[in-house]
Subunit: 386 residues, 2 copies
């Protein structure tokens, strides 16, 4: 554990841990029982007496459960701290917000860096492949543990949005409202391709050592940095890159005629790569990308996405961003069409922005207004006190 993190935990204990012993294994889609299981999570706000005001927030690929409190690793504010809090769209004066680190992650929940009790060594890539459904199944165990029957809402973007959709399919009766953002019902060929590039970058690093780097005291830092750089380009849009960086040179009046970072975009990307390595586990990166690649809701329903949502009573609001080319509007709209075909209650908001896929993590007023409006309306329907 990162020393800074330990200190913060000792001081403020920002995260909580739910342990599940041998009698409560996590049934994995890969066909294994994962046990013991440890889930790290944070909560914000207060659960009401009826336990009817719980909002589960699902994090994205490299996110964590520090959605609305500072990350003990980076010291930065929670990744949705401008969306979740008192008086904010996900209003902690009103809602009880739960955010857990996903299974396979590296921030406290059981993942490839956890010690396999059978060997006494970190799992590495001997951990079975984790699916989005596995992540959701683990979250359901946590929600059970908290004594909550029905979630008022499940909210998340990107991989978090996949979890929202999976919740609505796996546990339709337990989700009153679902807010999947910048996501899709399956990972596209292009997205799988970019993930495969990232995995190959990690695995090409000799310090990855077949996934056993932790046991050997190594870290595939260079490979993981390259993977992050490649992925990061896909989170932005060409327009945003041109606006923010263009061809502006890095602290130089002219080209350097070498392979150092000449352009600001190069040093920005290198920074994204190196800082990521300080906060994320390389094997977790493999597992998270694989979980997204495997995601394909319709595949479990004979190829029919509408069938997956049949008879749902959950109310949905989908949000996409115009410049998101990783999960373009059409991918989100495909879910809307399936929900329409299933006669579900669904609204859809496309937000005009040039900030690309990353927009779901940024301060986008129209996006925030959409979240606020949908949750407020659903809360009235649910009879929650304003």
């Amino acid at each position: 554990m990162n020393p800074a993190r330990r200190a913060i935990n000792a001081e403020g204990a920002p995260d909580q841990i739910a342990e599940f012993g041998p009698d409560e294994p996590l049934k994995l889609d890969a066909g294994y029982d994962l046990s013991p299981l440890r889930i790290a999570y944070n909560t914000y706000g207060t659960l009401n007496a009826e336990k009817s005001n719980a909002v589960l927030v699902c994090h994205a690929l490299t996110g964590d459960h520090f959605a609305a409190s500072p990350s003990p690793v980076t010291g930065k504010p929670g990744w949705w701290s401008s969306l979740i809090g008192p008086g904010l769209p996900i209003d902690t004066n009103r809602f009880f917000v739960i955010c857990s680190n996903v299974v396979g992650g590296c921030m406290g929940t059981t993942g490839p860096a956890s010690v396999d009790p059978r060997t006494g060594e970190p799992y590495g890539v001997t951990l079975p492949v984790i699916t989005i459904r596995d992540m959701v199944r683990a979250q359901a165990m946590l929600v059970d543990r908290l004594g909550i029957d029905t979630l008022f809402a499940v909210v998340g973007g990107s991989m978090g949005g996949m979890q929202v959709l999976q919740w609505a399919v796996s546990y339709p009766e337990r989700v009153f409202a679902a807010l999947p953002i910048a996501t899709g019902a399956r990972h596209s060929s292009q997205n799988i391709a970019f993930h495969e590039v990232g995995r190959q970058a990690v695995m090409a690093d000799p310090d990855w050592a077949g996934g056993r780097y932790l046991a050997l005291g190594k870290r595939p830092a260079k490979g993981l940095a390259v993977a992050r750089m490649a992925a990061h380009v896909t989170y932005l849009s060409e327009a945003a890159l041109t606006r923010k960086f263009g061809r502006t040179l890095q602290d130089r009046d002219k080209l350097g005629f070498g392979f150092d970072a000449d352009f600001q975009i190069e040093s920005y990307l290198r920074y994204q790569g190196t800082t990521f390595v300080d906060r994320f586990d390389a094997n977790s990166y493999l597992y998270m990308t694989r979980a997204m690649d495997y995601f394909d809701i319709a595949a479990d329903y004979g190829g029919s996405l509408a069938e997956a949502f049949r008879d749902t009573t959950t109310r949905f609001c989908l949000v996409s961003f115009t410049s998101d080319w990783l999960f373009p509007t059409e991918e989100n709209r495909a879910v809307v069409h399936a929900l329409n075909a299933a006669a579900a209650s669904v609204s859809f908001v496309e937000i005009e922005t040039d900030r690309g896929h990353d927009a779901f993590l940024l301060d986008e007023p129209h996006f925030y207004a959409a979240v606020d409006g949908f949750l407020s309306s659903a809360a009235r329907a649910r009879g929650l006190q304003p």
Copy 2:
């Protein structure tokens, strides 16, 4: 040299070599004289008595001078063999086609794998950074050597298109017709970003050894393969990937729950990566990507692209492809607008296709018709015999 290549050269001598000694150094933008200089090239067709029917074909990032004859390395047909030949749009019954390997390349022209006469070792990254203008300057030396004053046409796609534009700017009086395809007058921030990912992938490989791998008998094969994989995704379109691969699994009935190639797109990409390593030099990859990144015609003309083309008498035809997101139509159109502002003769064709940037290398009938139409019309204007 690849043994297969030597054999083919011995049999058919498909490529020719122009050598430039100490009295004819190549003046590089980086401020150095490159000498000796060796240019490998191929020609197709016959130069007429007036020397007025020469078409210079410029290759792209990982291309070579085997435009219309089989590559001695891969054994595959020339990369534009369906465009260049008797009766084809670039008709070798009519035109004398020249295609040379660019400076900095790895197929016979002086590049980082060439031996530095001062050290007796391959240049590696001690070779000065090469620019598109340097490539064009070297081509002009070759054209001089061939005794050709004015080129009937200069044609190329992607990085080849950049060379076409640079020819029209550097030697306007020597270019009768210019056909830049799927290109732009400068490299965008997003494109620099993807190139930087590729370079970092190469340089992250310990076998790159600071660029000295050839002298040490090593090759950064894994890093270069990752770079190629990342780049290859950008050459295609999401629509084409979905059409060709979708989420189709690789010789399996179901998911493998591991990190082997599960999806066809994964094995396709891995194949692209590993086969590229067999035919391309890693340092050349760094130099080619850098040359493209540095390309910005307007920067040499006070930021005005129109100024760069002032008083040009060259006739232009630009071609873009609707699904090309690396050099989208708007980048091509920016060149058209500048040419319009410079009162140049210019036509512009946007080809509807879902095949992405790669379309310029593929059999696209409307594209071929555009090339044919433009060159035929220009040939009439030039008074060339049909």
